[in-house]
Subunit: 643 residues, 2 copies
């Protein structure tokens, strides 16, 4: 290893992590017991499972769609990850049966896809731009790798290897090969996983080919369109930015186009940068990440503001009601950011992961675990509710697999240090200098910032414990065995590092002060001028009509009044709510007037805000994250003052 | 006449009105000298004029479009109205030549339409829902009536009578007739005009048939779709609300669908109510008008908030940046409201006419007279500029004909009274009890609220002069020959009525106090919560980037600071600007941060607002009507105070 070696940390895999806190553990239980079975059920009902029998005939209903395979694959991956930490023989049998069916659907040449085998065999590999063949193959590969890791069973892995071998024969720069790459990225990161699982370097080379070929001229999607007899200028998306193929990836500086596609591409770029020690590729990835989180990310961690391209528009263009902020894009942001975090342990990365996880990702699934958001707006008139299913149902299995792998986002380690990125209670077991060390993390996070760690180890162990001080936290205290440890005023990339010879029974207390914050957005975010978002700890809050009445936009928080936080154990599964004083204009004096020039009478009210992730779990109604705020003390136009 | 007779007033026609003020007279000159010639030139260049030669052949460019005839017809109407007040032999020759060509294009059965004669003769009268045959015919009729009134020449009138006769044979309830009506209303009000010009009651009956047949079941557009072999359920607009045919018109309570269509329909309903003394139809029209102006009208007078249907959405749904507010819809609102005003002289109607005229309508054309807005948003990022032409170019000739008929909106009279609705300087000549009375109106309106009227009459004349006290005006003074006249605290429908025996030389001075008003929108208009619109007199103001820098949404007007008004004679053709104190957040401290919780530093600035109608006449940039406003006195979080 050279000093420039890129991978600094390794995530501690979920298998070594037990989560038993009051916040996530119940959600993960719901994921296992409700979401994963529900997604399977919906896949069955809609024909996605039976599609693998390849017996669809023209005229029959439930025509296998180009993206169906990916839904099933993501469900398998979610179920496999679940098996890895929570064995379930019945689920494993269901998976084995499904994997048998999938294996039987494989064509002699290794090709594996329901739509282009059963419905349109003549169109195989003829429209990489618009259809999803390589995307589906990628998700099958990810699923097979996960299933292999969970069970040790190789059948599915062998199946996808044959498929990858086929793809490796079809695509490339040799004579007779197609110089194509996917319109919807995904296979690139999957091939890196397949390489890591099998050791077969061809898969890594194929991923590298897809990455480096992307955006080269002559543009493959145009070549391919002409071969189909189409005018490339008639491309519906109008720009290759939609698929991030407008430029070679190393030249890309700004995240553009379809957000999910971008996140999967950038994740693969970081994977390849690490595997190939490719600093240029990493630099491109980091540049894209920085632009994204500094200029194009919602306060919830949502990305991709527009429905038109399911993606990015312009810097600071973050409309609230029409926010697309697809659940899958947020999951992609977590995947991408987690990869960067392992290369450069910087809390800026962990902050983004935490922001997305606790807000936009969790919003993607109902508290019951059985209903789903595809889009996660920050404002609603009451017409936005979670679906039981979505025709384009990428998000439900994706949130299921994210939750099933939550453990891997909490800790990382290298030879010298053990990093705690997220404060999620439970136990983790790591090997450290030949010792097995068990760390217990305990807290009421995210409702409270006091976290206690306890070390258990047979022998003393020399280790740096690196605790993330979150970006939202302005003051923290650390005590080791009751003694306060000074936190340097300028921390190294946001981690408080405690180096010592740890003994079993050592205890570290971290106290992250967690007041309610009134967050402002950059002045160029037009939608949020004059507005604040309430945030406490990692949680962004919102108002719902059911608690606050209609016309949430007319409600103005009083900047000069205190806010209160209160944990309500029987409310929305147990959440802390924020309450405070606000004003709004009285409706009655307006009568039929639409416009008036005299000052409108206001009334004093108390508002109640709930965590954003918990919205839309009661009666449909308005919702608002970005709240108007004003200071009323000394305002002569407001004669009604609070007592 | 019964006491319930509906028509109370008659507008004084433009021929009797000379406009010579400093505001409108130059705009009307631009309309005659630039806009009308420009629209003709564009019609020529795009093939709209030559289409009447009917020599288009498949494969040729410039295929006559289904709505082209209406563009030409509206141009003829504008030019004809212009001739009526400003004779122009060259223009008249151009019109005569064009009318000859149109007359030659008429088919032996009277049918008159370029598209369905030259391009798709097989589809004549087969898709009233989507195409524009009756709409085009209506505009040709309006044009012919205007040309007849302007010149006394009957050729064009005879042509459209043959066309109307043909339509009268094709449509109706008799056996063999089609029970159709237009998808785009317009012919109804045109047929009433044709009846008034010719005395032929069949035209009135045909208008009444179109009005009463509309929205009856079985729905004609569905019947017609099935006859074309189409499934009515596949209708692109998804609802017959789009064409206001979801219900019989007498049952309609809420203005829905395409806004222009609605305005033309409602105008015709009022026309028919008067002609047929139909109180039920009038009640329906008034109900629609009230709903519209109380719940669905922009502060500029714009209506139809959505691009999707070029029309109405929901009550109080008035987004600013995406405001469609088509110029034609605003013109339609003026047409509709002007009709109601003649039935019930109430300043509520005149207020709406004035609001639309001075704001959204004038915004539809550039100060040069040669560029046009189709949409009139109330906020722009700088990407909305006037077009030289628009493929769907209904608006340019429509604004030209509105301006050419401006004179008719100023005054109305009946046997007893003379009403002044608008304060536009010039002379008007009326007949009153056998006397010819000349009234001279003089002012700097809309920059100043002092208006002087002088009477000239050979003999004394007994007359009530009814002066509109505008809704925007909270205090006014009236003097007759220097002596103050008491204005009753509760005026009759907003008009101050002065009854006396007038002598030549009598002078009335009206002083409308015209402070700058900070207008609020109803609390349910979500887009405008916490915002005010600056209005002075009838003019709504806006901020432009060129005067105020970027990020207009981050600018906050100081409620506790004075605003100033100043006339700038060399600016934008001479306008009063409003200046005042505002704050905005400093950008520099944000660096790369997208969100932050500490209070952002603000800077004090002075802003400059211009009349809305004059925006987008300089460098492209942001524009904003609804401005944030706050009171800073006593706000401890804002340490930087104004001196």
């Amino acid at each position: 290893m050279t000093p420039a070696h890129l991978q600094k940390l390794s995530p501690v895999p979920p298998r070594q992590v037990e989560i038993n806190d009051g916040f996530w553990a119940p959600k993960l239980k719901t994921n296992r017991e409700v979401t994963i079975p529900t997604v399977y059920q919906r896949c069955r009902e809609t024909g996605r499972i039976d599609a693998w029998k390849l017996d669809w005939k023209p005229g029959q209903p439930q025509t296998p769609h180009v993206f169906w395979d990916s839904d099933v694959a993501k469900w398998i991956e979610a179920a496999a990850h679940s098996l890895a930490t929570h064995p379930d023989p019945k689920l494993e049998t269901t998976l084995d049966d499904l994997i048998d069916t999938i294996a039987k659907a494989q064509q002699p040449d290794g090709y594996l896809n329901t739509h282009f085998t059963a419905v349109r065999p003549d169109m195989r590999w003829k429209n990489l731009r618009d259809w999803h063949e390589l995307y589906c193959a990628g998700h099958l590969i990810e699923a097979a790798v996960a299933y292999f890791h969970a069970t040790g069973k190789k059948k599915f892995l062998d199946t996808v290897c044959r498929c990858a071998d086929h793809i490796d024969r079809v695509f490339g720069t040799s004579p007779g090969q197609k110089r194509g790459y996917p319109g919807h990225e995904e296979i690139e990161l999957a091939l890196v996983k397949l390489y890591q699982a099998t050791g077969e370097r061809r898969y890594l080379q194929l991923a590298k080919y897809f990455i480096d070929e992307r955006g080269q001229q002559p543009h493959y999607f145009d070549v391919e369109a002409r071969e189909r007899g189409e005018d490339p200028a008639s491309y519906w998306a109008k720009t290759h930015e939609y698929t991030q193929s407008h430029l070679p990836v190393r030249e890309q500086k700004i995240p553009v186009g379809h957000a999910v596609r971008g996140m999967y591409l950038y994740s693969a770029m970081v994977d390849l940068a690490v595997e190939c020690q490719d600093h240029e590729l990493l630099a491109a990835g980091k540049r894209l990440w920085q632009h994204l989180v500094h200029k194009r990310m919602y306060v919830t961690g949502g990305i991709g503001s527009s429905r038109a391209n399911e993606g990015h528009t312009a810097d600071y263009d973050l409309p609230n009601e029409t926010a697309y902020a697809e659940t899958c894009a947020a999951i992609g942001l977590v995947l991408f950011t987690h990869r960067l975090l392992q290369i450069e342990p910087d809390t800026a990365y962990a902050d983004v992961i935490e922001r997305a996880l606790y807000n936009v990702c969790l919003s993607g699934v109902s508290l019951t675990g059985a209903r789903f958001f595809y889009e996660n707006p920050l404002e609603s008139r009451g017409n936005h509710q979670r679906w039981e299913w979505h025709e384009c149902s990428c998000c439900p299995p994706n949130i299921a697999r994210l939750l099933a792998t939550l453990g891997q986002y909490i800790y990382s380690q290298n030879a010298h240090a053990f990093f705690v990125h997220l404060y999620i209670g439970g136990n983790v077991t790591i090997a450290c200098n030949g010792e097995t060390v068990r760390l217990t993390q305990q807290s009421n996070y995210p409702w409270d910032g006091k976290i206690t760690f306890r070390i258990a180890s047979e022998r003393e162990v020399d280790l740096t414990l690196a605790l993330r001080l979150p970006g939202w936290c302005r003051a923290a205290e650390i005590k080791v065995n009751g003694e306060e440890v000074a936190i340097p005023p300028r921390l190294e990339k946001g981690y408080a590092k405690i180096h010592r010879r740890w003994q079993s029974g050592d205890q570290v207390e971290l106290n992250l002060f967690m007041p309610i914050e009134r967050v402002q957005a950059h002045p160029q975010v037009r939608a949020n001028c004059g507005r604040i978002a309430l945030q406490r700890g990692p949680l962004v809050y919102c108002l719902e009509e059911i608690d606050n009445g209609k016309n949430l936009n007319d409600l103005v928080l009083c900047r000069d009044k205190e806010l209160a936080v209160n944990f309500e154990s029987d409310f929305l599964g147990g959440v802390s709510v924020i309450t405070g004083a606000a004003k709004r204009r009285q409706l009655a004096p307006w009568q039929e007037q639409l416009y008036r020039a005299d000052l409108a009478a206001t009334e004093n009210i108390f508002f109640k805000a709930i965590p954003y992730f918990a919205w839309a779990n009661r009666a449909p109604g308005e919702m608002l994250v970005w709240l108007r705020e004003a200071c009323y003390s000394g305002d002569p136009s407001h004669s009604t003052q609070f007592a």
